[in-house]
């Protein structure tokens, strides 16, 4: 039932111009561990053999599709696929550890807003009969806001690194904004009174320790991020409106955070491209903080479709832009891309109980 639904959805994407691809189920774990870090071990099944080392049961299709494209895809390209993904579930026996995904991925260099709108449109067409709630965000506007802060590159790098970990990001921002007290142990390091309680062992060298102490001192000498910028950032993170109102709010915010202006124009252009495809943008919700958890490779447009009458279900469809991922796997100048997946199992479940 789900499988038939999956193949029908895939056929829909083929009609929209996509080529069918069939990535492998077993992936080289190193690549995924490098991208996602150790957390992926808690979310994916890993197995090993003596010859190839650690292999991961495909937790999603995006990485292998990007790898296939980088290995010799034409530009622009549209791909679709249908198959199982595997997610380790340690905490909740109700959540599926194996389910089908159908995806649509667009590699397109020139018309970024058009590609974003195309992916959103195709998915909304595929699930349109289910009366789902659509929500979207844009990681790019947060990235731009960080880049524009009048503060050191080191602080910006620390914030960028944790943009997908909202709590840690908040703690860093508060520290750089002078909103939190300096911990005692750090005060001792800054004052030069912290002493090693034993001889140095291990790979991390004295030079590395000294470099971090110097970095901490340099950071302490730098003033806090200004109150106006901090307030602007707080307001940015709190934006939650229908798309046209959100764009208006973001434009207002770009007075205090001029660095986001270009990103806001991209959101505006995307809204126009969506409108041109007949999408009712007045009904779309935009949340600045949307997609900041468990979507670590999305770095621009992000969206999801939810069943309002079934809040217990995960998103029926979700997607976003992952330009940085294509660069990580394909090198500088790699083709930017945007894509989405639908869970046909959830589609079938909702269709069975209208």
């Amino acid at each position: 039932m789900s499988r038939a639904r999956a193949l029908a959805l895939r056929d829909g994407f083929v009609s929209a111009g996509a080529t069918v691809v069939e990535p492998p189920i077993l992936l080289d774990a190193d690549v995924l561990l490098d991208l996602y870090g150790e957390d992926i071990r808690g979310r994916a099944y890993i197995t090993t053999d003596a010859l190839r080392g650690e292999q991961m049961l495909r937790p999603d299709f995006t990485v292998p599709v990007v790898q296939m494209h980088v290995a010799g895809g034409q530009e622009p390209a549209r791909y679709t696929y249908a198959g199982e993904v595997f997610r380790r579930q340690d905490d909740d026996p109700e959540r599926a550890n194996e389910y089908l995904q159908v995806g649509f991925e667009v590699f397109e260099r020139d018309d970024v807003a058009g590609a974003d709108a195309e992916v959103f449109y195709q998915v909304s067409q595929a699930v349109g009969h289910l009366n789902l709630r659509a929500a979207m965000g844009d990681i790019g506007v947060l990235m731009a806001a960080v880049s524009g802060l009048r503060t050191s590159e080191r602080r910006k790098a620390a914030l960028r690194r944790h943009i997908w970990r909202p709590r840690r990001f908040r703690a860093l921002l508060d520290r750089f904004g002078g909103r939190t007290l300096v911990p005692q142990s750090r005060a001792a390091v800054l004052a030069g009174t912290a002493r090693a309680s034993g001889p140095l062992t291990g790979v991390r060298s004295q030079a590395e320790i000294d470099a971090r102490v110097a970095a901490l001192r340099a950071d302490a000498e730098e003033g806090p991020i200004s109150g106006a910028e901090m307030e602007g950032f707080d307001a940015l993170l709190a934006v939650r409106e229908t798309l046209p109102f959100a764009v208006r709010q973001l434009r207002d915010l770009s007075v205090d955070l001029p660095a986001i202006a270009a990103a806001v124009r991209r959101i505006d252009a995307r809204a126009e491209a969506l409108s041109a495809k007949g999408i009712d943008v007045e009904a779309l919700e935009f949340e600045a903080s949307f997609g900041r958890t468990s979507m670590e490779y999305y770095d621009g447009f992000v969206f999801g479709f939810y069943a309002a009458r079934r809040p217990d279900l995960p998103p029926v469809a979700s997607g976003g832009r992952y330009d940085a991922l294509t660069e990580r796997l394909g090198g500088a100048g790699a083709c930017p891309a945007v894509g989405a997946v639908i869970r046909p199992g959830l589609v079938a479940e909702l269709e069975a109980s209208p």
């Binding site: 340690d90 620390a158 690194r161 142990s185 390091v189 001889p199 062992t201 291990g202 004295q206 102490v213």
Partner: protein
């Protein structure tokens, strides 16, 4: 059927467990030769003794193959993600105290908090081209703790013993392990992160929520718990 009580099959943990029960009028003993893992219970009716490795007791409790079991909080939490649904703590036994902690080289003056560890990990990866390695056998607990603490750019490497030695041996940069007095850590020139306590563990008597009980078992359980309480 009898009520099955699982206890650690060797070492101090077994001795302390035997003492704890003896103080409450329940005599546990190993029977047969020193090498034979068979045991007996005296002082209460309808209870049989199952000698097991402390590490297997959580699984046996969760599977319902034993009704009661003695093992550390650390092992229950590591091995049973849904432990609250599978087992219930009956009594903390006041021995086998051990803290699961994160420790780093004592010479790392710049690292005292998980926040520091995260910053050091980012710089380490930049410098060495691989993620900062943390040696442990408590993979799940450590990963969850570090995720909540917002630490990135680390890798867990498996270490089933002599974990404190991995840093000097250059197979890890930090460790996550259980410690009671901290002596082994100090001897290996390691220090505990100030906010690096993952779990405070001690030997605990657990009751399985899944093991089937007939009338006689229920009576035996009531009698045993009354005597222990």
């Amino acid at each position: 059927m009898t009520l099955k009580l699982g206890v650690p099959s060797k070492g101090r943990l077994m001795e302390k467990t035997f003492e704890w029960f003896a103080k409450r009028g329940v005599t546990l003993s190993r029977t047969g030769s020193d090498r034979e893992y068979a045991g007996a219970v005296a002082g209460v009716e309808g209870v049989s003794l199952v000698l097991l490795s402390a590490g297997e007791i959580p699984r046996e409790l969760a599977a319902g193959r034993i009704h009661l079991g003695v093992t550390g909080t650390d092992l229950v939490h590591e091995k049973l993600p849904l432990w609250e649904q599978q087992v219930e703590p009956v009594e903390e036994m006041g021995f086998g105290h051990a803290d699961l902690i994160i420790a780093v080289p004592a010479a790392w003056v710049d690292v005292d908090l998980t926040d520091d560890l995260d910053a050091a990990a980012a710089a380490f990866r930049e410098t060495h081209g691989f993620r900062l390695r943390i040696a442990t056998k408590y993979h799940r607990l450590v990963r969850e703790f570090l995720r909540d603490a917002g630490v990135a750019d680390y890798a867990l490497v498996d270490s089933q013993g002599a974990t404190e030695g991995t840093v000097a041996n250059e197979t890890a940069e930090a460790i996550a392990d259980i410690t009671s007095s901290g002596e082994t850590l100090r001897a290996n020139h390691l220090k505990i992160l100030s906010d690096g306590l993952i779990l405070a563990s001690q030997a605990t008597l657990w009751r399985s929520r899944t093991a089937p009980l007939d009338e006689a078992d229920r009576a035996a359980l009531r009698a045993l718990l009354a005597q222990l309480g």
